[in-house]
């Protein structure tokens, strides 16, 4: 009986520790969202999908429809923008480190230029983009965008094709109007 009790205590301890450490993005967001001059917004996936689903009813444009279809793959969005030196640079750097060590996210791109630093981190499993986090430091400004998604490369390709179709249609239309203008009858 004692052994079972010990095992349960240890198990409970592990669960509590795991919950306490949690998701670095969530912890960071909760810590800084209420600071002055910090703009924050968190859209749960259900809300995003419902809004996009409703918007699709009223949209007839193919390109916009493809864009919305892509947006429906987003499971949740968190945005944190600091315009008043509220989030220390060190905290941002610690977040990047935690994302790598705790959330198995890897740096996809990082760019540093003129004191500005932007890093895009992602969690990609197979062909699915599960999480994307963009962190940007500028002078006195900090921006974090975290997106959970079910996005696949084929979805991006579908959007590109839709955009291309539209561009081609525009070009054809332009050519036709030019032809009409240049025709001797005109």
């Amino acid at each position: 009986m004692k052994r079972i009790l010990y095992a349960l205590i240890i198990l409970f301890g592990f669960v509590t520790i795991a919950e306490a450490s949690g998701d670095p993005i969530k912890n960071f967001y909760r810590k800084y969202k209420k600071r002055d001059q910090v703009f924050n917004i968190a859209l749960p996936g259900v809300l995003t999908r419902t809004c996009i689903g409703m918007a699709r009813i009223f949209v007839h444009d193919e390109e916009a429809k493809a864009g919305l279809k892509l947006a429906r793959k987003m499971k949740g969005i968190r945005l944190l923008v600091d315009n008043g030196h509220q989030i220390p640079k060190a905290a941002g750097k610690a977040l990047i480190k935690d994302l790598g060590s705790q959330s198995n996210m890897e740096t996809l791109v990082s760019v540093r230029e003129n004191g500005n630093y932007t890093v895009v981190m992602g969690q990609i499993k197979g062909k699915k983009i599960k999480k994307i986090v963009v962190i940007a430091f500028e002078e006195g400004h900090f921006t974090m965008v975290a997106v959970k998604s079910r996005l696949k490369i084929k979805h991006v390709n579908q959007l590109i094709k839709a955009l291309q179709k539209r561009a081609q249609k525009k070009k054809d239309k332009q050519k036709e109007t030019e032809k009409e203008k240049n025709s001797p009858m005109a």
Partner: protein
Amino acid sequence: MLFCALFCFLASSARAQNDAINRYFEAQLENEIFTSVYVSPKLIEIVSQIDLQSLDDGDMEDNEAAMIEEVLGQLKGLMLLKTDVEPMTHYKQVLSDFSGLNSGFDLLLSVRDKGNNVKIWTQTATDNTIQELLLLVGGKEEMIMLSLTGNIDLKKISKLAGNVDIDGIDYLDNLDKSQQ
């Protein structure tokens, strides 16, 4: 026995060279006088799956999109460092760090282009494919260090010059000139 020892030495020195590049890059990553760009193999893998040919709105030459797709398919990573603060000092520093280590890197090209010293090194695998290309540019105005890893075809990689907007990549044009 001797062969094994030689192989181990060559393998470790090649790794030491790669480490030297990575170490230098990581050391300067926090240095604010440097512009740095890092593109991970994963991102290149994703971008190479995107249908770039569909993005061609007629501005690209024949097969250009296909060629860029092919080059991206070969690349595994990109690192860039650039500075305009004491460029020659940094150029000489990298050059001495790099030349100090005897490794599997071969100096492919050394030219003066637009008033800058341009050096290109490559590291080849046993099957003669190029696994890494390192470009170093040093002049009065800027120092650029660009490292490309992957399975690199020199004929194709030089085509990136002029098609991709990355500092220093236009110097790869020299590869094309030297081949001619």
